[in-house]
Point group: C2
């Protein structure tokens, strides 16, 4: 049997683990695929800096490697260029692609799919979302006969670590981020993680598959965790909640007029919610579908070995298709649902205020909510020396109405301080 030739682009934590596993599990992989796998080259920027893999495989010429006689290109460089050009060239030349590149998929997924379609090559990307957790395949294959209505999850380990730490230590955001960087839980430039870009890319990919609709990163409403304060954490705790950065993909609106809403933001989540106990670098994703009901997937969302596991699973699938004929799923974007802007999406708010401790305060605050047609689910007022604490949890209302309510409440003379404003998820409104 002719070997399946594989080019590997990138040899960092994930890439070197892929090379190691290809070598270590070569016989098993061959038995599962029906042909041996041969790693023909590893493209890196500085070949002299990689001693963990076979020197004869290393090359700085990624374009040359991709253009050589290979069947499958595995990409773990990350970022848009040169990955985009290399993968488009690969797919156009009918070389199947396995990639872990969430940013590229979330921005240029349609182009990649089109190139794959034109040549008949496969495009697989399980590793791009939630590391080792099988999520792309279950969504685009196992649930292909169902109607997915909601995907909600924790898909970024760095922010989850930071929020967990803030919750347990009471420390502020900046301080906790610094500590996380020192311990290696956050990258030197943590922007992609803490500002939600990474989670937004994953949300775009998940929403695209779940709703058979093209969703790009720019369609995702994105809020990071840098504005989460110890006051927010304390307010959440007082409510029996914890704060998590959530990626939420929803089918919204009436049948026939359906939209999708895709957003990433911190939110309060009841401590009894299964996502609340997902700690550290773990990821977990809830999927709600009409027939299947509620499903949850949990596992390691990042790291060399877990990500390599997902890449190799895809590699086996793609290689099997080469050996046995056939193709993996193509892009499914037939539904083409419009994306609803965050302002028009129903959410719930938790608002914690310091207010004057005198008669009529609650009435004037409540009046603002009523003016914006925001219904209050729960309210708790506690007197203190000099002022009072007022905590309000709303029912679901359009986000713009909630935002306007907060803006107006902020202007009230009786409101001394808006201590915390946070969306609430995970419960029925």
């Amino acid at each position: 049997m002719n070997p399946i030739k594989v080019a590997l682009l990138g040899c960092g934590t994930v890439g070197s683990e892929i090379a190691r596993l290809l070598d270590h599990h070569g016989e098993d992989l061959a038995a599962r695929i029906g042909a041996p796998v041969e790693l023909t080259g590893i493209a890196v920027r500085r070949p002299d800096r990689h001693r963990e893999v076979r020197a004869d495989l290393l090359t700085a010429d990624a374009a040359g490697l991709v253009a050589s006689d290979v069947d499958i290109v595995v990409e773990v460089i990350g970022g848009i260029e040169p990955a985009r050009t290399l993968l488009l060239d690969s797919l156009r030349a009918n070389k199947s692609v396995v990639t872990a590149n969430k940013a590229l998929l979330a921005e240029h997924g349609a182009d990649l799919y089109a190139a794959a379609d034109a040549s008949g090559a496969d495009l697989y990307f399980e590793a791009a979302v939630a590391g080792a957790i099988p999520l792309v395949r279950p969504l685009r294959e196992s649930l292909a006969g169902d109607r997915i209505t909601r995907v909600m999850g924790i898909v970024n380990g760095t922010t989850n670590y930071i929020l967990s730490e803030m919750d347990s230590t009471g420390a502020g955001y900046a301080e906790t981020l610094e500590e996380a960087s020192r311990l290696g839980y956050a990258e030197a430039d943590p922007t992609a993680d803490v500002d939600g870009y990474d989670a937004a890319s994953k949300a775009a990919i998940l929403a695209s598959i779940a709703f058979h609709t093209r969703v790009t990163a720019s369609d995702v409403h994105r809020e990071g965790i840098s504005s989460v304060t110890p006051s927010d954490i304390a307010a959440a705790r007082a409510l029996g909640c914890t704060i998590k950065l959530l990626a939420i993909c929803e089918r919204v609106g009436e049948p026939g007029e359906e939209h999708v809403s895709v957003r990433v933001h911190p939110a309060m989540l009841s401590k009894s919610h299964p996502l609340a106990s997902v700690g550290g670098a773990f990821n977990a994703v809830f999927v709600q579908a009409d027939a299947a009901g509620q499903l949850m997937f949990y596992g390691q969302g990042a790291g060399g070995a877990p990500t390599a596991s997902a890449v190799l699973g895809d590699l086996v699938a793609v290689a099997r298709n080469r050996v046995a004929g056939g193709r993996g799923p193509r892009e499914s974007a037939y539904a083409a649902l419009p994306v609803r802007p965050i302002g028009k999406v129903s959410t719930r708010y938790h608002i914690s205020l310091d207010v004057a401790d005198r008669a009529g305060v609650l009435a004037s605050v409540a009046e603002v909510f009523a003016k914006h047609d925001v219904s209050i689910a729960a309210v708790r007022q506690e007197g203190r020396v000099g002022d009072a604490s007022l905590v309000i949890v709303t029912h679901a209302a359009p986000d713009h109405a909630l935002q306007s309510t907060v803006d107006d409440v902020r202007q009230l003379a009786v409101v001394h301080d808006v201590v915390s404003v946070m969306r609430v998820e995970g419960e029925q409104s």
Copy 2:
């Protein structure tokens, strides 16, 4: 585009839901497959008894339906015959099969695979294990590049319901089963569930896929829940545990001399273990793999709609293969690992005894453990009026050594009663 013609065998809770969804989501399914799906017939024993589906589709002639011009046969009859003959005939005639039949797969999976292989047809069975939870596809595809070491889960809703009820009410097994039957949580003949046959079939299927080894139901060590007593439940609670019926598939032994162990039995599980909080009809399965680490899958393990969701996901995959060419994964049994009998598998026991309250009792009990080379992890003795309670939790030891230990302890004059013997899972030994 020519429609994909589907024959449905069986029209109970699951079958009627499949028929309904095929009708209701016809346009979506067509868009996802690339061709419309046409349900050409539904085989049932008594066509006059089904008013929930189109009368013109119903037939009592299953063999005739299977032999007619169809592309895909969906089987939700259950049981060995006539399902076995019908599916073998279908596969031999190059008709792809989607089945939810765990008993058939666990007994005759190899024959079905061989028939599929001979003709090039597909054999899919996501619905056979854990209902709507994507598990077969993740194991045989997503983790195809990894080395799975352990699969442990709750895969039977009826027994999970009964054990949860016994735990919360303190009632005995017989009484709780009766109540479960009355409420519709247990079938009129509950044998397949309560004696562990259903879970054992699922364990055999999971182990076969996970370990690339043929495992049949008869290879599975099987203990049901009928001997679980309120004393066991109380003993578990005293230890901060709960009792669950677990299906456990393990890779055991040294590399080069690997075996698989597949077993279904009730076990104590710490309340802090994620499986401990899986209640009622929900299923959850943990998967441990070398590179992926620990993964968990959770969802509805049974019921018409969830099972139909899994069947339809497979139907879309199989139909796509018909439209686009190609095939799903075949049987992967190349590893052919031997199955290790339960006696040689390492487990841990919890043993609760009523003993005489006098000097030397602990010494004589401990001596029995030492004789069988069973190491004690924890012991707790509490004096009472007249006698004493002695609770022992062992380290991992071969199951036959643990059984012999219990047998010998039972013979000791100082032991008045063996209150509870239960395996312990979910912690490191």
